[in-house]
C-alpha cells in the first residue's frame, strides 16, 4: 500500500538533516547590489537623456531663430554631464567584493559627494540656463532687428523717461539680476528637489537598508 502524504511528511522530517536552518549571513548582498545597480542604470539613462535633450534643443533653437539660447544651453548641460560622467567612474570603482554594509556605506559617501558637487554646480547652472533664455530671446531676429532692441523701442514709445544702461532698461536689468541671484541662492534646493523626484525612492531604500544594517550590527 502506498504511503499517505501525511506519513511521507512526518517520516521525511524525522531525519535529522531535514531541517537545518541556513546561517544568517550576507543578508543584504543581493539587496544592496540591486539598489546600487538600479541607481547606476537610472543615473546613466538620466545623463543620456540630458545629452539627447541638449542636442534636440540646440537644433530646435537654430530652427526657431534663438541659437544663442541653444548654444548656451548645450554647453551648460554638457559640462554638467561631463562632470557627472567623471563622478560615475568613481562609483564604478566601489568594490563589490566588500561586505554589503561597506559597499552601501561607500555608495552613500559617493552619493553625498555627488550631491554636494551638483549642488554647487546648480548655483551656477540655473542662473546660466535662465540667462540663456534671456539672451536667446534678446538676440532673436524680429524682422531685421533683435527682439530685445525692438521691445526696448516699443517701451520707449510708451515710457520715454525709462532709464537705460547700454540700451537696456535699468528695471529689466534689476529684475533679471534678482531672478538670477534667487536662482543662485536656491539652485541647490531646486537640484535637491529635482533629485528627489527622480531618485527619491532609491535613496529611501538605501536609507532603510543602511538603518537596518546598523541596527543589525548593534
Amino acid at each position: 500500500m502506498e504511503k499517505s502524504i501525511e506519513n511521507i511528511w512526518k517520516e521525511g522530517f524525522l531525519k535529522s538533516d531535514a531541517l537545518l536552518a541556513p546561517k544568517i549571513n550576507n543578508l543584504y548582498n543581493q539587496k544592496s547590489i540591486h539598489v546600487i545597480d538600479k541607481f547606476k542604470r537610472m543615473f546613466k539613462i538620466n545623463l543620456i537623456a540630458i545629452v539627447a535633450f541638449s542636442i534636440i534643443f540646440l537644433i530646435v533653437s537654430f530652427i526657431v531663430g534663438i541659437p544663442w539660447m541653444g548654444i548656451l544651453f548645450f554647453i551648460a548641460l554638457n559640462i554638467l554631464v561631463m562632470i557627472n560622467k567623471k563622478l560615475l567612474t568613481g562609483l564604478e570603482k566601489i568594490d563589490k567584493g566588500d561586505t554589503s554594509y561597506q559597499y552601501l556605506k561607500a555608495f552613500n559617501l559617493w552619493i553625498k559627494k555627488q550631491v554636494s558637487i551638483n549642488k554647487r554646480i546648480s548655483t551656477f547652472l540655473y542662473p546660466i540656463i535662465f540667462m540663456s533664455f534671456i539672451i536667446g530671446f534678446w538676440f532673436k531676429d524680429a524682422e531685421g532687428v533683435f527682439l530685445g532692441k525692438r521691445l526696448v523701442n516699443e517701451i520707449l514709445i510708451g515710457f520715454p523717461d525709462v532709464y537705460l544702461i547700454y540700451g537696456i532698461p535699468l528695471l529689466g536689468i534689476v529684475v533679471v539680476l534678482i531672478i538670477s541671484v534667487l536662482l543662485a541662492i536656491f539652485g541647490g534646493r531646486i537640484y535637491q528637489w529635482d533629485l528627489n523626484i527622480v531618485y527619491g525612492r532609491v535613496f529611501k531604500k538605501l536609507e532603510e537598508l543602511l538603518a537596518d544594517m546598523e541596527r543589525l550590527n548593534d
Binding site: I5, I8, G12, A18, L19, A21, L27
Partner: protein, 163 residues
Amino acid sequence: MSSDFYNISILPYAGIIIKLCRAYTNSQEDFEDYYQEVCLQIWRSKNNFREESQWSTWVYRISLNVCLTLLKKNKKKRQQFASDTIHVELTEDSYAFSDENLNELYRAIRQLSEVDRGVILLYLEEKSYKEIADIMGTNTNNIGVRINRIKERLKKILDGKIN
C-alpha cells in the same frame, strides 16, 4: 537582529519556515535568500504583533507572505528559464532532503499553485482548519474543500512514484 531574538522568537519556528521556503524555491541559494528574508521580516514586524493571535500564527503568516512576495518578484526571471509558470524540472533542490519520498512530495507540492502550496504545508504541519483559514485570510469551510482537492491532486502527481 539580536541573537536572543533569533534564538527565542524565530529558531523554535525555523522548521516551518524551512518547510515553507523549500516549497517556494528551486535552489539552495534561493532557499537561503527566502529564509533570511523571512527572518528579517519577522524581526522587522515584531513591533506590529498585537497578540491577537499566537506568535506561531504570526510567524507562519509572515513567512507565507514573504514567500509569495518573493516568488512574484522572481517570477519574471524564472519565466526566462521555464516554459511554464510551474517548475517541474529537476533542480538541485529536488534533492534537498536525504529522504527520497520527501523529495518526491516536495516536487509534487511545487507543481501546485502558490496559495495551494501554503495551504497544504500548513495542513501537513497539523494546523487546524481555523488556523489555516486565519493565516490564509479565508473561511474554514473553504479550507476543508480546498485541502481535499489539493490532496487528490497530489495523489495523482505522486501516483507510482513513492516507494
